[in-house]
C-alpha cells in the first residue's frame, strides 16, 4: 500500500533497564527494532507486563532508552516529545474541565490561548460523535464517549504520529467493538500514522496494516505479521477465513509468550 520510503518512525536496537535499588536492574525492553511507514497503522501486542508501555514511553520521549535510538523521518529524537500524541489506557479526562476543555488540554499546555484551543477542539466534535457534549462534564459521558473524547484530545494536538496505549482496554466487549469500528472509520478519513498497543488479537487484526508481537519480558520483537485485508473493513470481516487465519496464527504465538510471562511472573512474585 505504501511505497518504499524513509519510515515515519524507526526504532533501532532499543534497550531499557530500570535500576531497582541495591545495585539490581530489571531489563524490560531488549533490542527492539521495527519501523512504521507514514500513514501506516501498526498494532503491538504482547503478554501482560512484557514492557509495551515502557517501549511507548521511550518512543514518546518520556523515558530515555538505556541503549538504541528512536528516529522520526530519519532523525534521532530520543527524549523529544513534540512528535507524538499519546493516548493512555485510562481516559484520564479531568473532571474539572468540560469535554471541550479536556479536548483543548494539549494545545493549552503548548501555549495556545485557552479560547482558541477550545475552538480548535470543538471543530472535531462532530467527527468524534460528540456533538452536543462540548459543555458536558466527563461524568456525564458513557465509557465509549469518554474514550472518544480522550482520542479527540490526542488528535487535536495535530502531531504527526498517534501512540495509543490500549485505548479500549477498559471498555466492555460490546462497546469495544463499536469503538473499533468507529476508529477504523476516522482513521481511514484522516490517515494518521498510528501505533496501537493492545491485548486483543481481534482488535489488532481488525484495525492494523501490520501486527507486531512482543515476547514476554524483556520485550523483544517475536513476530511481525502483515495484515493483508482489504479496507475499509466491515464488521463482518471478522468471521472471514482470512481474518480467522491471521487470528489463529497470532493466538498461537501469543499463548506461548503468555505462558512464559505467566511462569516468569509467578517466579518473580515468589521472590
Amino acid at each position: 500500500m505504501h511505497a518504499e520510503m524513509t519510515p515515519k518512525i524507526e526504532l533501532v536496537g532499543l534497550d531499557k533497564q530500570f535500576a531497582l535499588g541495591g545495585g539490581e536492574t530489571r531489563e524490560v525492553v531488549r533490542d527492539v527494532s521495527f519501523s512504521v511507514k507514514p500513514g501506516e497503522f501498526v498494532s503491538v501486542i504482547g503478554p501482560s507486563g512484557c514492557g509495551k508501555s515502557t517501549m511507548f514511553n521511550i518512543i514518546a520521549g518520556l523515558e530515555l532508552p538505556t541503549e538504541g535510538e528512536v528516529k522520526v523521518d530519519g532523525a534521532v529524537v530520543n527524549g523529544q516529545r513534540e512528535h507524538f500524541a499519546y493516548m493512555p489506557q485510562k481516559d484520564l479526562l479531568f473532571p474539572w474541565r468540560t469535554i471541550a476543555e479536556n479536548g483543548a488540554l494539549g494545545l493549552e499546555v503548548q501555549g495556545v490561548p485557552k479560547k482558541k484551543a477550545v475552538e480548535r477542539a470543538k471543530s472535531f466534535f462532530s467527527t468524534f460523535g460528540l456533538a452536543g457534549y462540548e459543555n458536558a462534564h466527563p461524568y456525564e459521558l458513557s465509557g465509549g464517549m469518554r474514550q472518544r473524547a480522550a482520542l479527540l484530545r490526542t488528535v487535536v494536538q495535530g502531531r504527526e504520529i498517534l501512540l495509543l496505549d490500549e485505548p479500549f482496554g477498559a471498555l466492555d466487549s460490546l462497546t469495544r467493538i463499536e469503538m473499533q469500528n468507529w476508529l477504523q472509520g476516522v482513521w481511514s478519513e484522516y490517515s494518521w500514522t498510528a501505533v496501537l498497543i493492545t491485548h486483543d488479537i481481534r482488535e489488532a487484526v481488525y484495525l492494523s496494516d501490520r501486527v507486531i508481537v512482543l515476547t514476554a519480558r524483556p520485550a523483544s520483537v517475536r513476530l511481525e505479521l502483515e495484515i493483508d485485508l482489504p479496507r475499509p473493513r466491515e464488521l463482518g470481516i471478522v468471521t472471514s477465513p482470512e481474518f480467522a487465519a491471521y487470528e489463529e496464527q497470532l493466538i498461537e504465538v501469543l499463548h506461548e509468550e503468555s505462558r512464559k510471562a505467566f511462569a516468569q511472573q509467578n517466579g518473580a512474585e515468589k521472590r
Binding site: G61, P95, V109, P138, Y139, E140
Partner: protein, 265 residues
Amino acid sequence: MKTKRMTRGGFWGTVIPPVAIVLVLLVGWELAVTLTGMRPQVLPAPSRVFVEGFERADIIWGHTLATLQVTLIGFAFSLIVAWAIAIAIDFSGVLRRGLMPLLVASQTIPIIAIAPLMIIWFGFGLLPKILVVALVTFFPIVVGLIEGFNKADRETSNLLRSMGAGRWKEFVYVRLPSAMPSFFTALRISITYAVVGAIFAEYVGAQQGLGIFMSTQKNAFRTDLVLAAVAVTAVLSISLYLLTFLIERVVIPWSFKERKARGAR
C-alpha cells in the same frame, strides 16, 4: 449500584434523628438537675443556660465577634502556611522527607504549655493567637493537600509530559485541581479545630473573645454562662463547618456534581 448501604436520606431523615437525640439529652439533664437540686454553680440546668445566655446575648455576641476575628485571621494564615509547605513538599522529595516528621512532631506539642510562652514571646496581641490557631489547624490541610496532589498518578503525569508540560505546568493543570476535593475535606476537619484553637489562645490571655469570657465567667462562678459560651462555640464551629460545603460547591462545582451523579446511578 455503588452506594454503600441504603440510607433513608431526605431532609427530615437527616435532621430528625440528631435533633431527637439532643432533645432527649437536654430533657434528661434538665430533669436530673431539678430533681437532685444541684447548685447552678456546679451544674446549671440547660434552661438556665439558655435563659441567662440569652439575657447577655449582646455581650456574648461582642465576644463572639472577637473570637471570629481571631479564628478567621488565624485560619487564613494557617491556609497560607499549609499551602506553601504542601507545594514545597510536592516539588521536593528531600523536603518531604525532611519536613514531614517535623510536622508530625509539631502536632504533639502541648499547646497548653506553649500558649502562655507565646504570650511572653509575642505579646498578647493578635500574633500569638494567630500562631496558636495556625498550629492547631495547618497540619490536616498539609496532609490533605499532599494526598490530593498525589491523586494525579504517574499516568496522568506521563500524559501531560507527552504534551510538553514541565513540572510546573503539570502542577497547575493537574495536581492542583485534582487536589481540591481532598483540600476541602481537610478544610472541614481543620476548621472545627480553628474556633477551639482561638478560644484556647484567648483563654491564656486576651482582652476580648469567648475564651476570655468563659474564663471571667468561670471566675465569677457563672457556670451557666460558661456553658452558654460553649454552646455558642459549638454553633460557631458547626456553622463554619457547614460553610465549607457551600464554598466547595462554588469553587469546585464539578466535584459536587460528579459525586452526586455517581451516587445517583
